[in-house]
């Protein structure tokens, strides 16, 4: 190397010092790895969202199942319940024996006769989620092991109300409760101090647990029973019980075939001062002829306003019991189709006490609920409701022998005669899990753990437990995007209602209304923003002096820097004004373009000497026209309101007053304007131009202005004519197109979101237009084209793809905008195009609900899905825009 000839003739030292080389390599390595690492990290955003969403579609799993065979057997008709920690459980035999046991070993802790001196003849637990009861902080009965006199620090109980009927015709109400206490360390016996975190032990009639957080927790089952109330005059055979939201109702049927209903009302107890249910009245049930044979099942729904009598052969009688003074047979139907020889083998209410679940001897399970039929649907029963079969599950392996309801979701566990259990999700009509308890032995009782993470069953030979992960049965692509038949609805529908007031509320996760809301917001935003921004960009780049342009552009870009929360607040501020001035604001849409055009025609009339000199202040004149247009709208608005909308637009929109004529006129105006303008441009203008060749410039300008006025009049006339025609046909825009006015509506969102979208579209469009090479313009102008002709025929076609990309970027922003739609969109998840109504978009919904959503719950994951959907929507739109823009850039480069 060194002996090559050099330019200067002197040999040069060509080696780089090792330090420079090393630094160079390290820098290269760091930048390369750092750069790529950063980019990869950013791209993980989408992957992470997908990773969170994915479990929505996992299928449920049984993680661990085992059979315990303790020395106790279960009789048919026993009832089983387990606490939320899956630590302690109880089973209640039909003879009134309560057995408390430890769930993980099946070991019996306590065995007590609830009524030692009298044996119950009927037992009816109240359906639905258990009650949460605060336990008075006195020394509890569960403290006997320590003999301490100290009250535990906190105590809470999850109670199941149960009614017992007796042979003497009396009824007792009781609460069987899981009670938890946090005892003081000093009260904990020596033996328990060896517990490790997470371990548990039996302590007397309780279970003591050391939680992973280092706290001692004591679990007990307590029974709190009230005195007998005489209801019937004979031995009670069937019993139905509901809490009725604080006003319990008990129904009892006797062996002799009479039925009575006992209503309780909340009264203030004179002794303790607390409000508790007191017997209000006992009413005889006027039994129909069909009830001569005593029913096999007697059930009351959650509010106690319907009493169901079910027979094994599938007959069902429903009595309306809402009003104690007027109880009557409402409807009578068969649960099985004609010719179906199945027998009813199990019945119960789903969480919420509204949906009746019945199982039959062929292993089928079906869900029935009361709904109010819509007009044109099936006829309602005499009380206005109708019982319908909404969901049905295909036959299982054998007859259904037991039903267990989830306390959190719309899930049912069904036990079968061949010893299998299956877990069903009712609303989604899915069979989630099937497992075997003990082959060949009928399942006596099944229960789902309160947190839905366990499944328990009693078989004659023992106690079975399984740990399950039901995943997210209520979410699947079809339930998210297609109509679902929710409890109490007349028909399947797409609904988003993720949270409700009560514990037994069923969340409704239909994403379609949210996607619709996003599209609606985008539509109205683009309707307002896109033409404004594009025209403004055209004007800035083509018709304004470059010095003016340099001032205007930053002014509009200031708008882009406005935080969207400020715009959302603006929407809140202007909403009352918009409501008060709605006619004037709607007239602005007509008066502003009309006034501008009129001013342009007046401008044409002014002699050219003057206009040429004034042309550089044209924008100022245009700005001056705006207040005139506003004034015109202000005058015109009330006028239009009086003549077309019976004096009050808002009332008109409600559909209360006026004829549909006014609405049609307003809706048809743009269309008729375009049509008339087209006709005028095609035929009238050439004629006028031909005529005008002889009358000189000013004369022609006058003629042209006249033509414009005529066009306007023709537009109105044709709009009126069309509106009259449509009205004559009896069509009304109120309903499908416009409707009730709400203060926070799409109109306002469209306007305010314009602030967010206009500057973006404007900037990119203006960049695209001014990137068109000037030699094209020069050539066009040189060939005799006017600036407008140059703009329309040369500049816009060349910049078309750039303009398109501007629109797409604007669209992307409108889709993802959050704060404005959150604050101004009204957040009502409805699907209509009415511009005066609100909507609930994906973005606003996520912002509103995610902070409250429980980590890894179905709701949480569905909100992540909403986020992912938004990501995908904007990413696609932006990518298209970017590709088009790059293509345009290359093309312009070649010009």
């Amino acid at each position: 190397m060194s002996d090559r000839n050099t330019f200067t003739g002197h040999p040069r030292r060509r080696t780089t010092t090792w330090r420079v080389r090393a630094v160079d390599r390290v820098a290269r390595g760091l930048i390369t790895f750092g750069g790529i690492g950063t980019i990869v990290a950013v791209s993980l955003v989408a992957l992470f969202l997908a990773w969170v969403v994915l479990p929505l579609f996992y299928s449920p799993a049984v993680e661990m199942a085992e059979m315990r065979r303790p020395a106790w057997a279960s009789r048919p008709g026993s009832r089983l319940e387990v606490d939320e920690h899956r630590l302690i459980g109880w089973s209640l035999s039909p003879r009134g024996t309560l057995r408390v046991f430890r769930v993980d070993t099946g070991e019996t802790i306590d065995d007590r006769e609830l009524f030692p001196d009298i044996e119950p003849t009927a037992i009816a637990p109240a359906f639905g989620a258990p009650e949460i009861v605060d336990v008075p902080q006195a020394s509890g009965s569960g403290q006997d092991h320590a003999g301490g006199d100290r009250a535990s620090r906190t105590a809470q109980a999850v109670a199941r109300p149960v009614a017992f009927g007796f042979a003497d015709g009396s009824v007792r109400q009781a609460r069987i409760a899981f009670e938890t206490k946090f005892p003081d360390f000093a009260d904990i016996p020596e033996a328990a101090r060896r517990l490790r975190a997470g371990q548990r032990m039996v302590l007397g009639k309780n279970i003591l647990e050391l939680t992973p957080q280092g706290k001692y927790r004591l679990h007990t089952v307590t029974v709190d029973s009230q005195g007998p109330i005489a209801i019937a005059d004979g031995p009670i055979r069937n019993l139905a019980y509901t809490l009725g939201g604080g006003n319990p109702v008990i129904s009892a049927m006797t062996d002799v075939g009479t039925a009575r209903l006992a209503y309780f009302r909340k009264r203030t107890d004179p002794e303790t001062g607390e409000r508790r249910p007191v017997l209000d009245r006992i009413v005889d049930l006027p039994l129909a002829e069909s009830a001569r044979k005593p029913p096999d099942y007697l059930l009351l729904n959650h509010r106690g306003d319907s009493l169901f009598l079910l027979w094994e052969d599938g007959r069902l009688d429903r009595y309306a019991t809402a009003n104690p003074r007027n109880i009557a047979l409402a409807e009578s139907l068969r649960l099985f189709d004609e010719g179906d020889a199945a027998r009813l083998t199990a019945a119960g209410f789903l969480l919420g006490g509204k949906t009746l679940i019945v199982g039959d001897s062929r292993g089928r399970t079906s869900a029935w609920f009361l709904m109010r039929p819509e007009a044109g649907g099936p006829p309602a029963a005499s009380d206005g409701w109708k019982l319908v079969r909404a969901h049905e599950f295909p036959a299982g392996s054998a007859a259904v022998t037991a039903l267990g309801m989830s306390a959190a979701r719309r899930m049912v566990a069904a036990g079968h005669a061949d010893g299998t259990v299956s877990l069903l999700q009712v609303t989604a009509e899915e069979r989630l899990i099937t497992a075997t308890v003990e082959a060949g032995q009928p399942v006596v009782s099944v229960a789902i753990a309160p947190e839905d993470d366990g499944l328990f069953a009693l078989a004659p030979s023992g106690f079975w437990r399984a740990e399950i992960d039901p995943q997210h049965p209520e979410a699947s692509l079809s339930t998210l995007f297609l109509p679902v038949w929710y409890e109490g609805d007349p028909a399947p529908a797409q609904v988003w209602q993720s949270t409700g007031g009560s514990q037994d509320f069923e969340p409704k996760f239909g994403l379609t209304p949210l996607v619709f809301g996003t599209l609606k917001a985008t539509f109205y935003t683009m309707l307002f923003g896109a033409p404004l921004a594009l025209l403004a960009a055209l004007h800035t780049s083509e018709f304004v002096h470059s010095r003016t342009r340099a001032r205007i552009k930053p002014a509009i870009e200031v708008m882009a820097s406005l935080p969207s929360v400020v715009l959302g607040f603006l929407a809140i501020v202007i909403a009352p004004f918009v409501r008060a001035w709605i006619p004037a604001i709607l007239s602005l849409l007509v008066t502003v373009p009309a006034a501008l055009m009129l001013a342009a025609y007046v401008w044409q009339i002014v002699p050219q000497r003057i206009t040429l000199r004034l042309e550089r202040w044209r924008l100022a004149f245009i700005l001056l026209v705006l207040p005139i247009a506003v004034a015109a709208a202000w005058v015109l608005g009330p006028l239009i309101e009086r003549t077309l909308f019976a004096g009050d637009v808002i009332r008109w929109l409600d559909g209360k007053t006026g004829s549909p004529l006014g609405g049609w006129v307003l809706l048809l105006l743009p269309a008729s304007g375009l049509a008339i303008a087209w006709i005028s441009g095609m035929w009238v203008r050439p004629a006028v131009v031909r005529k005008g060749a002889r009358i000189g410039r000013t004369g022609f300008a006058l003629l042209d202005a006249g033509r414009f006025v005529a066009t306007c009049l023709a537009t109105f006339a044709s709009a009126f004519a069309g509106a009259g025609l449509l009205t004559m046909f009896g069509l009304d825009p109120r309903g499908p197109l416009v409707g009730t006015y709400v203060p926070m509506n799409s109109l306002i969102v469209g306007f305010v979101m314009g602030f967010a979208v206009i500057p973006i579209i404007y900037t990119i469009a203006d960049d695209a237009l001014s990137a068109v090479p000037d030699h094209l313009r020069a050539a066009s102008l040189g060939a005799g084209a006017t600036p407008l002709q140059t703009a329309v025929r040369i500049v816009i076609p060349t910049a078309m793809s750039g303009l398109f990309s501007a629109l797409m970027v604007g669209l992307g922003r409108a889709v993802g905008e959050t704060m404005i739609v959150l604050m101004a969109g009204g957040m009502t998840a409805i699907m209509d195009w009415n511009p005066f109504n609100g909507f609930r978009p994906l973005s606003g919904n996520v912002a509103f609900e995610l902070p409250e959503a429980v980590k890894n719950s179905t709701h949480y994951r569905i909100l992540f899905l909403a986020g992912l959907t938004l990501f995908a929507m904007t990413f696609v739109v932006n990518t298209v825009a970017e590709m088009v823009r790059l293509r345009f850039r290359r093309r312009v480069h070649h010009l």
Partner: protein
């Protein structure tokens, strides 16, 4: 610049000539139509509307924002039905109760919420009695710490002086209490014996002592201060002038009252500042000192819990139990001592042989016996608990001892501070301003609760300016009050600033690194342009999506991991041995790939054999895979139990907080920085790079000495734009830690000074919360405008700085970018 100017000339000049020629030819019609003036005007109209929208919005915010703090006149409206309304008129508009009927109505901010249950009232014009609109001269506007504003006319100013209590009186009162408690337990005969003593000796003695004290008090207030009246509050609750106190009546308090609006106002103005200072001191004690003590105790408690987790034996529960037992023993002993004291004082006062002394001794003994039994029981329990602790570590674990000591110290100090607070409270509660509302009701306001008061209708222009600026000062430097609708927004400003700064610290290095790679090192090709497009697109991804990511990833995974290790974050850890082996292997592979990359990348671009050319690419891929797997493996470590496991299940980092909010926003603004930096880097002319290479500089030297300095303004522009975007963003913050009211600042004087896990307040979120969710939106609205003004000011000045920098950059390098 010049190119654009040329275009403009080109644009206008031919048009003019063309028009003239057309006019001369007389064919004005077609020329006029061709010019298409209406369309030009229409497009101009669109521009004008856009400009009007910006101008209108800014004007609205600036006007309403600046007008918020201007003190209005207080108007009194007499209504026809005899009622009267007084306050500031906040709106005045034409109202249409039914179609066609128009009337004027005024919205009056009437304040006095605790009396009227409303802050505002609408008054129709026809409701007002003729001549019923007045500006009462002395109407006072009072801004209060609680309950919002108060409007009233000052009637009087009172200073209360409570009667001092002597030691003797206290002792007698205690004795009386002791006997009254004890007598309930006595049998009939004993009670009969003791009752005469209590009624005929103890009570009269107490009363005599009290009357001596009143007399001393009266003597002190012998003369009436000038212009004031002295009132005495009697034990019966009656208030009489001090000169009319019946002899022998018990006086509880003496009020020095100045009546008349002017006198009351003067006295108020004189005393208010001092009382406010004391009240501020009290708030500091309540909030800061007590808060610090509570945190100290919590820290000690958490230390015990940590030790408990470590040794896997119960510590905290026994430690707390022992603490409670000791406290109960101490309380019982205190009570015993008090009983002894009373018995002793009775013996001294009434003689050892009196019925009273014997009864007292008996009572004391009875109570002592009960207490002793209790104490003994507690002692036994304490020993048992102590034994558990001793078992955990002989002599009791030191953390537990520290916990006990801290608890004892904190209890003592808390009591001291509480005493101070009580003293200040008693002192400040002595002063009260009595005001009459519009409807004549009297209301006494304690001076400590008054933030600011002024007679609005007496103020001149200059004074009103003073009020205006003092309100601004409070707004910018104070803490929020009244559900944020009053007071200041310093925490929000502070939160916004700190969050934005941390965000830019995180975003700039990575953004610049990525941009340098894309522009200087990556070989242009389809992959790089795809990456570039994706990065550009990320700028268009809705901010809420980043919020969702931040919540799910930073808070619920990383944060939960930091708090309690893999288990807490929902990650299943690996078995130990496999973990070690895999970790070592991955580390080796990663390091090897990195070194290989260093070696081969430096030679890129020169002709090599196929393998050597691909070596660089392979090593990068290998490194990436190894790094990702390495991170995943670290996440699955079986050894890490989290730094804040003691606090679980309460999350420390596993929830929204300042750090996560900053990181989320830095992810959001990363594309902005990358794009701006790329633009700036590519604007550096290639000739300069080539010149540098020609001089023999290496690539890194070229970048460091030539490219980066030239691109610096562009990078700064990107950073400022990112800060502007970050400061104005709200939607993601709603998910990752911005809150309505943060009790503590994210940076303060307490170790470790920066608290990344704390929630924070943010100006944008403040606007959202106050404007959209405030319970009293009417009264909050002016504040929202002011906050909006501030936010826009911050964001706009950041943006203007960026625009200015970009302009300078363009001028310097003369390259227009599209």
């Amino acid at each position: 610049m010049s190119a654009i100017a040329d275009t403009a000339r080109l644009k206008t000049a031919p048009a003019r000539g063309w028009g003239r020629r057309a006019g001369r030819r007389g064919g004005g019609g077609s020329a006029l139509v061709a010019r298409g003036e209406p369309l030009v005007w229409l497009s101009g109209g669109a521009l004008a509307v856009s400009l009007a929208m910006v101008a209108g919005l800014l004007a609205l915010i600036v006007y309403r924002g600046f007008a918020t703090f201007w003190p209005d006149r207080i108007v009194r409206l007499e209504l026809r039905d005899g009622r009267a309304v007084m306050g500031e008129v906040s709106a005045d508009e034409v109202h249409e109760p039914s179609p066609g009927v128009e009337t004027r109505r005024r919205q009056v901010r009437t304040g006095n919420f605790e009396l009227t249950n409303t802050h505002f009232q609408w008054v129709l014009d026809e409701e007002v009695a003729p001549g019923g609109v007045t500006l009462p001269e002395w109407a006072l506007l009072v801004e209060r710490v609680e309950w919002g504003r108060f409007y009233g006319v000052p009637q009087a100013f009172a200073v209360r002086s409570a009667r001092p209590v002597s030691g003797e009186e206290e002792q007698l009162a205690e004795t009386l209490r002791f006997f009254e408690e004890g007598m309930a337990k006595l049998d009939e005969a004993d009670r009969a014996a003791l009752t005469p003593f209590v009624d005929q000796e103890l009570r009269p003695q107490l009363r005599a002592v009290q009357i001596r004290a009143y007399e001393r008090l009266l003597a002190n207030f012998g003369t009436t201060p000038e212009g004031a009246r002295l009132d005495a509050v009697l034990a019966s609750g009656r208030i009489v002038p001090i000169t009319e106190v019946p002899p022998g009546e018990a006086i509880v308090e003496i009020h020095e009252v100045r009546t008349g609006a002017e006198a009351a106002w003067d006295r108020f103005a004189e005393l208010h500042d001092g009382v406010r200072e004391k009240a501020a001191e009290r708030r500091r004690l309540e909030k800061h000192d007590i808060g610090a003590l509570n945190r100290r105790l919590e820290t000690a408690r958490l230390a015990v819990r940590s030790a408990e987790i470590e040794i896997e034996q119960p510590l905290l529960a026994p430690a707390e139990s022992a603490l409670r037992l000791r406290r109960e023993i101490a309380t019982l002993q205190d009570r015993r001592a008090a009983d002894r004291r009373v018995a002793e004082s009775v013996r001294q006062r009434f003689g050892g042989e009196s019925t009273a002394a014997r009864a007292a001794a008996r009572f004391a003994a009875e109570r002592e016996a009960g207490a002793a039994g209790q104490i003994e029981k507690h002692r036994v329990e304490l020993q048992r608990v102590q034994a558990v602790l001793d078992e955990a570590s002989p002599g009791g674990p030191p953390v537990v001892q520290v916990f006990w000591d801290t608890a004892a110290a904190v209890a003592v100090q808390t009591a001291e501070i509480q005493e101070q607070i009580q003293a200040i409270r008693a002192e400040t509660a002595r002063y009260e301003l009595r005001l009459a509302t519009a409807d004549g009701r009297l209301k006494a306001l304690s001076l400590a609760d008054v933030v600011r008061a002024f007679p609005a209708n007496r103020l001149g222009w200059w004074d009103r300016l003073g009020v205006y600026f003092s309100r601004w000062a409070e707004f910018l430097t104070g803490e929020p009050r009244e559900a944020n609708s009053e007071g200041g927004i310093l925490p929000a400003i502070w939160g916004t600033v700190v969050m934005t700064l941390i965000m830019s610290l995180a975003v700039v290095p990575f953004g610049v690194l990525a941009a340098l790679y894309l522009r200087e090192y990556a070989k242009p090709g389809p992959i790089v342009s795809a990456v570039r497009i994706s990065v550009n697109n990320l700028a268009g991804v809705p901010s809420i999506v980043f919020g969702v990511f931040g919540l799910g990833f930073f808070c619920y995974i990383i944060g939960a991991y930091v708090d309690g290790g893999p288990d807490n974050a929902g990650i299943v850890p690996w078995p130990e041995r496999e973990w070690f082996v895999t970790l070592g292997a991955l580390a080796a592979i990663g390091a090897g790939a990195f070194l290989l990359g260093l070696l081969s990348l430096a030679k890129a671009g020169r002709g090599h054999s196929g393998w050597q050319r691909h070596r660089g690419r392979v090593s990068i891929v290998l490194w990436l895979v190894a790094t990702v797997l390495f991170v995943a493996l670290i996440a699955k470590t079986p050894f890490f139990d989290g730094f804040y496991a003691a606090n679980l299940p309460n999350p420390t980092f596993g929830k929204g907080g300042l750090l996560w909010a900053s990181l989320t926003l830095s992810l959001l603004t990363l594309p902005v920085v990358i794009v701006a930096t790329e633009e700036a880097v590519s604007a550096v002319p290639n000739s300069m790079r080539e010149g540098s290479y020609a001089c023999g500089a290496s690539k890194w030297q070229t970048i460091r000495r030539i490219v980066l300095p030239r691109a610096l303004p562009g990078i700064l522009t990107g950073m400022i734009l990112a800060m502007a975007r970050g400061a104005g963003e709200v939607a993601p913050l709603m998910l990752v830690g911005a809150v309505k009211l943060a009790p503590e600042l994210p940076i303060d004087g307490e170790f470790p000074f920066f608290h990344g896990s704390r929630n924070f307040m943010h100006l944008g979120f403040h606007i959202y919360d106050l404007g959209f969710q405030s319970p009293n939106s009417e009264a909050a609205r002016p504040m929202v405008f002011t906050t909006t003004l501030l936010l826009i000011f911050i964001v706009a000045s950041l943006n203007l700085a960026a625009i200015w920098l970009r302009g300078r950059l363009r001028r310097r390098f003369g390259s227009a970018q599209f």
